[in-house]
Symmetry: C2
Subunit: 355 residues, 2 copies
């Protein structure tokens, strides 16, 4: 059973009444925090930090020490799964993630196999368990993974891309090959998330960072269909508690109805969506998570509060809203601006419930 | 009066009956064409090419010599206006456009003034006139400009950006300053497009490349409102012919109804929108232009034809569709694939009308 001191986040995801609107921030353990940068320097590389359960736990807890956040999220990378498949993840300084061995040849694609999370991704599960112990029931812990399509983008392009030329050429010319990659990724992500749940994750989120670069039809076939399979394959309960599932496609605002229909409990919104209109579109089907433009955190605290109020007011009364940014927090965010945001969300949403 | 041999494009923009669906491609005069690269080398830099009316005319006509396209578009850059304002546009090799003197200080913003298109942008108007003569009534010529917000993004950031941190900080903290920039840009773009119309442009398009990075409210206030003012300020007729106005916000698929309501004749769609659903949403208000994913041109010709048919079928029978890509054509496109696309659009859309 859930013995959490603060289960507001889990209740909001399940659209149960809450005293206020819970808040957490994508990438809340990150470079905008000086204490994160210190730990990161001690660890060595970014992947050294991810692979060290002690240090991963340390940075996971840092934002919770500073801010009154309603959830913790496992500190890890979305690309641990393809790394465990042997593609050789690395981070070139000042650039995004890259793979030493991008997946391009048919023989390599045919040889691709889902890793055993208990073996190749043991360090993640150890981190989950250690964080759960350290949290000591204060707030819930979120586990996560990249979506099959998003993982495939990096695996096939070999890194970030501005046109996704390689994967899109495969998508249109050799859909059979891409479907094979996505099938393996789906099995891998399902096993990975279930292992995180067993290790202690109390909610899980699928990050579909790149699904929004597809046409509507291609999105349905190559991204959403696989996320649906994952959701269907996840443990619904663990240790007597429901495990809510959040799905987030950046740039997916046009496809909300379809995303809300895959069986997830909550849908993440980027900041281009109007959360009031989104709530009307998905009706009572799912909770919504979002959706402040992370750039608003560069503005002055009064302005931050004003924009947070506008989102809370647009969502309106009733439960089913988890406040968040519409994308990961920027490394250039002044840390004290996050305090202003968290306070604004908690205070205003309590007032809303008293009105 | 219009004495065009092929006015299919203009008729489709005005939702008049046509024998087939017209097609042109954003950035159709560009690096994927070897003949463009040759002219470009002769010209020197990209801006030397833009500033030379003879050569700008030459590259404008190149795709029309190769393909059975239904419109020509002025070869120029979206940033000619801020360049004419004195910001010093340049292109660093392998990078996007940059400004030597980004607009950041309040005094510089207060001093910003709209250029006289007849003086500072004479080279563009000369190119328009020369292209019109060279086209000799074969197909219509499209004039264009960047939107006030998109110009402001480059002017304030000093170049492309992945988070638009500087302009968004200004947007939230000093909206008065940004509104001033947008006001000057709006006057400048209106005068520039009207001058292009007087020089011979038979349709005009506003490219809002970056409006889609805003929240819905910010988009309405800082991008769409200014495009509405431009549309209201454009000459509706010239030389006895209607001058259709196309507005394109990349990433604006969630805001179609609002875009369609600003008084333009047509709305451009990127490839994430379902054109059938878009047509239902905007009703008979405007024509639609789009919306093939440019990456589909990397696929084999049969696949290209199949995807083009799917878009034509999704739009359905009746007029009011101009076929295009959902974004500029990639420099990596095999030129012969464009032939396959143009043929597929013309052939299939003629068949649709016979059904």
């Amino acid at each position: 059973m859930n013995t959490l001191k603060n289960d507001t986040f889990l209740r909001a995801l399940l659209r149960q009444p809450t005293d206020y609107t819970p808040i957490w921030l994508m990438r809340q353990a990150g470079r905008y925090l000086p204490e994160y940068c210190q730990t990161r320097r001690r660890a060595g590389s970014f992947m050294d930090l991810c692979r060290n359960p002690h240090l991963a736990c340390e940075v996971t807890l840092q934002p919770l020490a500073r801010y009154d956040l309603d959830a913790a999220i496992l500190f890890s990378d979305i690309l641990t799964v393809p790394d465990a498949m042997g593609l050789g993840l690395y981070f070139a300084e000042g650039e995004g993630p890259k793979f030493e061995r991008p997946l391009r040849e048919e023989w390599a694609i045919r040889n691709l196999a889902a890793p055993d999370p208990g073996v190749e991704l043991r360090y993640v599960l150890d981190a989950v368990a250690e964080i759960r112990r350290a949290l000591n029931g204060s707030v819930p812990l979120i586990g996560f993974s990249g979506s099959p399509f998003t993982l495939a983008c990096y695996m096939i392009e070999g890194g970030a891309s501005d046109d996704f030329r390689t994967i899109k050429t495969m998508l249109y010319d050799r859909p059979d090959l891409l479907h094979h990659v996505l099938d393996v990724n789906t099995k891998a992500v399902t096993a990975y998330l279930n292992a995180q749940i067993e290790a202690g994750a109390q909610a899980v989120m699928i990050f579909d960072t790149w699904g929004g670069v597809l046409s509507r039809r291609a999105y349905g076939e190559f991204s959403l269909a696989y996320m649906r399979r994952i959701v269907a394959g996840l443990k619904r309960e663990h240790d007597g508690a429901r495990i809510p599932r959040i799905v987030f496609t950046k740039g997916g605002g046009q496809w909300l109805e379809e995303i809300a229909a895959i069986g997830c409990d909550a849908v993440g919104l980027d900041w281009t969506a109007d959360i009031g209109a989104a709530r009307e579109r998905v009706g009572g089907k799912v909770a919504l998570q979002g959706n402040l433009d992370p750039s608003i955190l560069f503005a002055q605290p009064e302005k931050i509060a004003q924009e947070a109020h506008a989102i809370l007011d647009a969502f309106g009364p009733g439960s089913g809203h988890v406040f968040n940014l519409g994308h990961g927090i920027s490394q250039f965010t002044p840390p004290e601006h996050v305090t202003a945001l968290v306070d604004a969300v908690h205070t205003h949403s309590r007032k809303q419930r008293q009105a």
